[in-house]
């Protein structure tokens, strides 16, 4: 029974919290009310059975609690007024009752509010997983290898920050919108990447987290179908997720893209990724950073073998990406592509411009890429030193072993 209530919650949490937030204009309070409804379900459903429309049941309970809460506040404010100590008279907001026709707009409002830039990235991630993904604090804690109390505190603080800052429950329009949307996409992609290349811990990949992010992306694509970057992000995640099975070796070690068994790539996800990329491109130019990254991933997916990879195309996509969204990490990837398309010497030239880049200091992929290019140029001793340095810098155990193996293989 507990497991079926969990399942209902996962499917309904976002809609219920969003609908209640429309009533109470505060997503923190809305989430508490929704949790109250969940507790009521946990108490009553084992006796009564799961109702025919469990989502409507939970929403009805939540609504009742919301109305109680609003009335209590009204009474309290009224009393304060009577004593004459009222500092701030606020007319109680008319309860705006959620309905099915608007629920999707409310969910989109919830997405933008939970990912508001006033919150730290960690807080946005926690709120998004909790409110839109329906995860428990325990599940979020496990996903990010932290303690449950840390996550709980993070969520409490985040809710307070939103209330204190008076963040309205709305979808931003106008000049703000693009920046706010990229804040949302950043959160989803961060969740995906935490699952795809776990930054810490003994597992290199945490598939559940990838799937949570993919699901959030797919939901967002339906809520905001006119945003090319949303489809771009979905395309990117679908195609990257298609390689999940191929990118882990038998003893948990990472397998780099060129060495992957392409037969293990999931054709369905690749197909879905291509479809999402087409949707993005149909919405017109200019191509944003996620659409471009998806185009790069799609180019890899189209190559039947590693040797068939169209590195020239990929290098030029990276060049566009570097101009649209300049970053040292993009430059590093571009160097890899250029090294494949136009030879290791050209790639090394680009990497060498990055060695003093402060933001890449401590980034293990810089020495790892440099080591690869040096090895291909026959500069073995230098290459070995770079792989060893990369191994020192990574916090991920299987990846560290793989790097040390490469160093050792150079003799």
């Amino acid at each position: 029974m507990h497991a079926s209530i969990d399942a209902v919650w996962r499917l309904e949490a976002a809609r219920i919290i969003a609908g209640l937030a429309r009533m109470v204009h505060d997503i923190g309070l809305a989430e508490e009310l929704a949790q109250d409804a969940l507790v009521a379900a946990l108490e009553q459903w084992p006796e009564s059975g799961v109702p025919d429309n469990p989502g409507a049941w939970l929403m009805a309970v939540g609504k009742r609690r919301a109305i109680d809460r609003l009335r209590r506040r009204q009474r309290l404010e009224h009393r304060l007024e009577e004593i004459g100590r009222d500092l701030e008279t606020r007319p109680a907001p008319e309860p705006d009752v959620p309905d099915d026709d608007h629920i999707e707009d409310d969910v989109l409002r919830l997405v933008f509010t939970a990912c508001h830039p006033v919150l730290s990235t960690q807080a946005r991630v926690a709120l998004t997983l909790r409110m839109l993904g329906g995860l428990t604090t325990g599940e979020i804690a496990r996903a990010f290898l932290t303690s449950e109390s840390t996550v709980a505190q993070r969520i409490v603080r985040a809710k307070r920050t939103l209330t204190d800052a008076g963040v309205p429950f709305e979808v931003p329009e106008g000049p703000d919108r693009a920046a706010r949307l990229s804040s949302v996409l950043e959160v989803i992609y961060l969740i995906f990447n935490e699952g795809y290349t776990a930054t810490a811990g003994s597992d290199w990949v945490r598939t559940d987290l990838c799937q949570d992010a993919l699901r959030l992306g797919r939901i967002l694509a339906e809520l905001a179908p006119g945003e090319p970057e949303v489809h771009g992000l979905v395309a990117l995640m679908e195609i990257q997720a298609s390689r999940t099975r191929a990118r882990i070796g038998p003893s948990g070690e990472p397998v780099p893209l060129p060495e992957q068994d392409r037969g293990l790539w999931d054709r369905l996800l690749i197909h879905r990724g291509f479809a999402a990329l087409l949707r993005a491109k149909a919405l017109g130019e200019p191509l944003g950073p996620y659409v471009l990254q998806a185009a790069i991933a799609a180019s890899h997916a189209q190559a039947r073998t590693a040797e068939d990879t169209d590195w020239t195309q990929i290098a030029s996509l990276y060049e566009v990406l570097a101009s649209v969204a300049p970053s040292p990490v993009v430059d590093l990837n571009r160097a890899v592509a250029v090294g494949r398309a136009h030879g290791p010497a050209r790639g090394l030239e680009l990497v060498d411009t990055l060695v003093d880049e402060p933001s890449l200091r401590g980034y293990h992929l810089l020495p790892s890429v440099r080591g690869d290019l040096l090895a291909r140029l026959g500069r073995t001793a230098e290459a070995r030193a770079e792989f060893e340095r990369a191994a020192e810098l990574t916090h991920n155990e299987p990846e560290r072993r793989a790097l040390l193996d490469r160093a050792a293989a150079l003799g």
């Binding site: 399942a7 499917l11 799937q211 298609s242 999931d266 369905l268």
Partner: protein, 117 residues
């Protein structure tokens, strides 16, 4: 986790398939897409072509088939976090369709351990 939700038909029951059901079904499919769980869905031709391999010999027989045998008539491939979630979605499907039978089976996807390992 991926699951294949299938509806089966043993040829005995009169499947009611009026227009309103198709409208409801369309809405349900849209809802599953919006929930981010639907990967693919489709209906299957009744009967189909049967193929049997025996002793190195492959026999192909075209339908329709005289004997009533349970066949899959529709499917939805979904990606969810648990079997319970698949069951919950399936319940919603049957609430629309009414009487009938189906089966829910996990599909081993990119993130799952290869069966047997």
């Amino acid at each position: 986790m991926r699951f294949m939700l299938m509806t089966t038909d043993n040829g005995s029951a009169d499947q009611k398939q009026d227009e309103s059901m198709f409208v409801e079904m369309g809405k349900f499919i849209e809802e599953m897409s919006k929930a981010g769980v639907l990967l693919a869905t489709g209906g299957l031709e009744p009967g189909g072509t049967r193929i049997v391999s025996s002793g190195g010999k492959v026999t192909v027989t075209d339908g329709p088939f005289a004997e009533a045998k349970e066949t899959v008539v529709g499917f939805a491939l979904i990606e969810v976090r648990s079997r319970e979630e698949a069951i919950e979605l399936s319940k919603r499907f049957w609430a629309i369709v009414g009487d009938g039978e189906g089966v829910i089976q996990q599909v081993f996807g990119p993130g799952d351990p290869v069966p047997g390992n």
